[in-house]
């Protein structure tokens, strides 16, 4: 339960971080709330760690130009408070309470969670559902990848080892959007078994914009496109929501058999969670509409 030896760098600028990463067999140390435990287990044995915690410019979190910009040192905890980004801020703060515990949220980062790509992690599915744009900075400069194309599988992304995930941009949601998040897990302390994320707007009783995401319902985070199609342009009533939720379970989810949860059970559970998340989002949109 002790890590193998490694060389440690704690640079202060992004250039130094990128230069250090180019050295090979090097890992970024962000919150350390996944990396250090893997190093304690010795499932990960990097030759070098680049600790980014002293890079002052990495703490930025600001909303403007229609997006929320999240830099590499924004801790989970930052989203517990109202970050004044309208419905997006509301959604993020309802999600964050499901991520680990206060002491882990005080260290762990949103970008670290995206880079780690745990199949049951919440942020990757939020980023995928909302079509976040992710910046990867390496020796040849910065490239931008959409979240939906970033996640390749469990603990696997298209990030190259020498690239830093330098920024995530989450689109701000329409002002009148309602949001809902529902998670199922075995104990409060467990990772999600499944979770559903919904954001939508309703005009004259009809759903005219929607984003729907699933946590742990497939090999990678899911944007539930088929269910979104079943909702768009339809009345925001129980029939529509239930029907779309069933579509999410049957078409968008792609669960693996688990010892304690068959694929059939998981598809059913996805349907239930999506319906609840949609109901919550419609209620939330109503509250916004009532001039809350």
């Amino acid at each position: 339960m002790k890590p193998t030896a490694f060389e440690y760098f704690a640079p202060r600028t992004v250039e130094e971080v990128v230069a250090a990463l180019a050295g090979g067999d090097t890992r970024v140390l962000a919150g350390g709330q996944s990396l250090v435990l893997e190093m304690n287990y010795r499932t990960v044995r990097p030759a070098r760690l680049v600790d980014i915690n002293r890079v002052a410019e990495f703490t930025g979190l600001d909303a403007g130009d229609g997006v929320l910009r999240v830099r590499p040192l924004v801790r989970h905890r930052a989203f517990e408070r109202d970050i004044s980004a309208g419905p997006l801020g509301r959604l993020l703060s309802s999600v964050v309470h499901n991520i680990a515990h206060p002491p882990i949220r005080a260290r762990g980062t949103m970008l670290g969670s995206l880079a780690y790509a745990h199949p049951a992690a919440e942020w990757p599915a939020v980023a995928t559902a909302l079509d976040a744009q992710l910046d990867l900075t390496g020796p040849d400069g910065t490239r931008t990848v959409a979240a939906e194309a970033f996640f390749a599988g469990p603990f696997d992304t298209v990030r190259r080892p020498e690239e830093l995930l330098s920024e995530a941009r989450l689109p701000l949601l329409p002002d009148r959007a309602g949001v809902g998040f529902v998670e199922h897990r075995r104990t409060h302390a467990s990772f999600a078994q499944l979770a559903a994320i919904a954001a939508l707007t309703v005009r004259d009783g009809v759903i005219d914009w929607v984003r729907l995401g699933l946590v742990n319902a497939a090999e990678r985070p899911v944007r539930a496109h088929a269910a979104e199609r079943a909702l768009l342009g339809q009345p925001a009533d129980a029939g529509t929501l239930t029907g779309a939720a069933r579509v999410a379970g049957e078409q968008d989810a792609d669960p693996r058999e688990q010892p304690h949860a068959s694929a059939g059970y998981q598809r059913h559970a996805v349907g239930v969670l999506v319906r609840r998340a949609l109901e919550a989002a419609v209620r939330d949109a109503g509250a916004v509409g009532d001039g809350r």
Binding site: M1, Q33, P103, R107, A189
Partner: protein
């Protein structure tokens, strides 16, 4: 690597390998064995200490990351004359420990939270969320919850 930290108000210069966790540096280098280690992967919270006032898992941080920072451990809770901290008094009064293995972690978790926002003890949901951070295999948590609530009252000047 050379690291300078302030532990319970005392400046310490340590020579540690980069791979030494903060928990091991406290226990092995500083001989402060009040900080307990159990799971060493972030689940149990027995190793909780305050770094710059914030409760963290010391098994998931390297000592070199704490260079120039303030660390507070359970040994730093009581007053200089040995007077127990209100949390320690309350844990005793409410029988909030049996074997005591988890106690240093819970004390530091609660100390960090109450220092930051004493009103957390008035909000049952937030207090519950906080206390789910750490594991106790003996008490069933209820006495720990009562102890933290009692200590918050004491710290607020006996107002409740």
């Amino acid at each position: 690597m050379r690291v300078t930290l302030t532990v319970n108000g005392e400046r310490r210069e340590l020579e540690v390998e980069a791979r030494r966790t903060l928990a091991d540096a406290l226990r092995e280098n500083c001989r402060l064995t009040g900080t307990h280690l159990a799971c060493e992967h972030g689940v149990c919270g027995a190793c909780t200490v305050l770094v710059d006032g914030e409760a963290v898992r010391s098994c998931l941080m390297f000592a070199v990351q704490c260079d120039g920072r303030e660390v507070r451990t359970v040994e730093g809770l009581a007053g200089a004359d040995g007077t127990p901290h209100p949390l320690q008094e309350a844990f005793s009064a409410e029988h909030a420990l049996q074997c005591g293995f988890c106690t240093p972690g819970f004390l530091m978790l609660a100390a960090g939270a109450l220092q930051e926002d004493p009103s957390i003890a008035d909000d049952p949901d937030r207090l519950r969320e906080l206390l789910t951070s750490n594991l106790c295999r003996c008490t069933g948590y209820e006495s720990i919850r009562r102890a933290v609530t009692r200590a918050a009252g004491e710290l607020a000047g006996g107002a409740s």
